[in-house]
């Protein structure tokens, strides 16, 4: 039985439907991210779990108990907010202690627990400091310690890193994951940053317009995006509009390319072929195989370890990520042939953007 379940959760604000009957289930100790652009409903879903919003319909169930109508202060859910959530009138220690005071724990127990948690987040030395004397990253650590102090049933994180510097963000997300694994706490994490979601989660649910587009492990989401939206949202993708030529072959503007994923598709069907830039191979055009897309290098984008080479191939603009030395051999203006292994392309039906709506369960 799942530990935390969102069952057919549905939320309308007036005419606007924020969430369309989503179903998500977390195993005990699982770290699941709700990922999507702003306005996709991820924060609303989290706030419903926390109890700050009532769903229009649907249920929130923890360990088989329906919590949908339980007020937030009786849910035992630890929450970390985006920013400014520490009580400004209390120092770090008192902030962490707050939930324990509410629970009327003895002062000895409180002191011990506060000490433990501040040590866990590495802030023992800052115990007496007030929030305005702490950096953004430290504030979020205190907020995390405060949420964990009450030994919550579920840890909820609402874009806890979005207000921090890039470096602190990476550091802290690894730390959140480390603590989560160490404590084995079931965690629901909301973010719009795909890199963040992929790097820390056991599973990721990608949301768009209040619907779940895909739910799966980070590798599944990245390597096998289930919808054009997911493909577009996660990382960079080359999108090739094509027609199925015959089983396992697609026709991109007259060039026939083998793609394993296109097996069993009817001949003549319009499809979208998705290829990661790191999969795409570039060679000088002379002597290339006929199953390659030919174009001209138009730009080099330096990305550190790799260089992204942009290729203008007629109707398509392609991106290929190459090691810097390889890219240097293909300067701007070079005629190149782009190819990819047959199993490196992902084929999706070419459909209207809303088509994914059809996959959601029919509403009442």
């Amino acid at each position: 039985m799942p530990y935390l379940e969102l069952e057919k959760l549905h939320k309308e604000f007036g005419d606007f439907t924020a969430i369309h009957e989503i179903d998500v289930a977390l195993e005990a100790g699982e770290f699941l991210s709700l990922l999507g652009p702003s306005g996709c409903g991820k924060t609303t879903a989290l706030r419903i779990v926390a109890g700050f919003e009532r769903p229009t319909s649907g249920r929130v169930v923890v360990e088989g108990k329906d919590l949908t109508s339980v007020p937030p202060n009786h849910r035992d859910m630890g929450m970390v907010f985006q920013a400014y959530s520490l009580f400004p009138n209390m120092n770090a220690e008192d902030n962490v202690e707050f939930g324990l005071r509410v629970r009327s724990r003895s002062s000895a127990e409180r002191r011990k627990r506060v000490e433990e948690l501040l040590e866990l987040v590495g802030l023992t030395a800052a115990a007496k400091r007030y929030p305005h004397q702490l950096s953004g990253g430290m504030q979020q650590r205190v907020a995390l310690a405060r949420a964990l102090a009450i030994e919550p049933r579920v840890l909820l994180l609402d874009e806890p890193l979005s207000a921090l510097d890039a470096k602190v963000r990476v550091q802290l997300r690894e730390e959140i994951r480390r603590l989560q694994t160490q404590l084995g706490i079931t965690t629901l994490y909301v973010t719009h940053d795909q890199e963040e979601a992929l790097s820390v989660s056991d599973r990721v649910a990608v949301l768009s317009h209040g619907r779940i587009e895909q739910i799966g492990s980070p590798a599944e989401i990245y390597n096998a995006p289930g919808t054009p939206f997911v493909a577009e949202f996660i990382g960079t993708m080359n999108r090739l509009e094509a027609t199925v030529a015959e089983s396992g072959q697609i026709d991109v503007n007259g060039t026939v390319v083998p793609v394993t994923d296109a097996r069993d598709l009817p001949r003549g069907e319009r499809v979208l072929v998705l290829v990661r830039p790191e999969i795409l191979e570039l060679q000088r055009a002379d002597g290339a195989a006929s199953s390659a897309l030919v174009g001209e290098v138009v730009a080099h984008i330096f990305l550190g370890a790799i260089t992204r080479v942009k290729v203008d191939a007629g109707e398509h603009e392609l991106s290929a990520d190459l090691p810097g030395s390889r890219a240097a051999g293909l300067p701007v203006g070079t005629r190149v042939a782009a190819s990819f292994p047959a199993d490196g392309g992902r084929v999706l039906a070419l459909s209207e953007p809303q088509a994914s709506a059809g996959e959601a369960p029919a509403g009442p």
Binding site: P72, N73, F81, Q82, A83, P88, L156
Partner: protein
């Protein structure tokens, strides 16, 4: 500061201090020499003590009622009804434009209704509701500023997620962070009640301001002394606002400042 800046400050200081200094000088005059005789006369007058302590009690009662009324109201408006904030703001600014004389006539009219207990009508606490209304703008804007300086939503939700109910959230989390605003509102209300004449006079109660008026019409030097005393009270209230605004060590307690 430019030279013209200093000039205008000097003009302001002269405008402000010359009448004050003249009054102070006059209050100390005793025939051809100076003494505290006028002050002694005031402090020895039982009517001074009676009216002063009555006004003090009324001020405290007004502050208590206004805080009990406004802290939850402003909190709720910020948390749940932000769309009504302009309306509340407008209503709270009304006493600025409605003269107290209109207010007290209205209030006396209201008190004519049968449901007002007769016992209450003879008590000077009768004036408190009127003072609370007169103090609306001071209390509201002081608190409104303080609430705008904190993230009411996040703090409330953080407190709730940690298990706290409404009362604890208001008392332990919200109130300490708007305390400066509450105290500023309290001091302003205090100064208001200690100086409000029209309502008390029309309702036929002898409060400190009506006493000042009476002395002003009957005795010259003590009247000046009383003016200085009443001025001192107002100044102490203002000093109080300044002091609570800069208590060290505590975060986010500034009057209306951004964090």
């Amino acid at each position: 500061m430019t030279r013209s800046g200093w000039f205008w400050i000097a003009v302001g200081v002269i405008y402000f201090f010359v009448p004050l200094a003249a009054t102070a000088e006059f209050s100390l005059k005793d025939g051809d020499s100076y003494s505290f005789a006028a002050y002694r006369e005031i402090f020895d007058d039982p009517a001074f003590r009676d009216t002063f302590f009555l006004s003090l009690k009324l001020a405290v009662a007004t502050i208590v009622v206004a805080l009990l009324l406004f802290i939850p109201t402003v909190y709720w408006v910020h948390l749940r009804l932000p769309q009504f904030r302009p309306l509340v703001q407008f209503l709270c600014a009304l006493p600025f434009v409605v003269p107290p004389i209109v207010l007290i006539v209205g209030l006396l009219y209201v008190y004519n209704y049968q449901w007002v207990p007769a016992k209450y009508l003879g008590s000077p606490y009768y004036l408190v509701p009127g003072y609370v209304v007169l103090g609306f703008p001071f209390m509201f804007f002081a608190l409104d500023n303080a609430f705008r300086a904190i993230d009411v939503h996040t703090l409330t939700e953080a407190s709730q997620s940690l298990g706290a109910g409404w009362i604890r959230t208001l008392w332990r989390v919200i109130l300490p962070n708007v305390l400066t605003g509450a105290l500023a509102g309290a001091f302003l209300t205090f100064a208001l009640v200690m100086g409000e004449f029209t309502m008390a006079s029309l309702a036929l109660f002898n409060t400190f301001p009506t006493y000042i008026n009476y002395i002003g019409q009957t005795k010259a030097n003590p009247a000046a002394a009383l003016t200085i005393i009443s001025f001192g009270i107002t100044w102490l209230a203002l000093l109080g606002i300044l002091l609570v605004g800069r208590r060290p060590g505590r975060a986010a307690v500034q009057v209306g400042g951004a964090r």
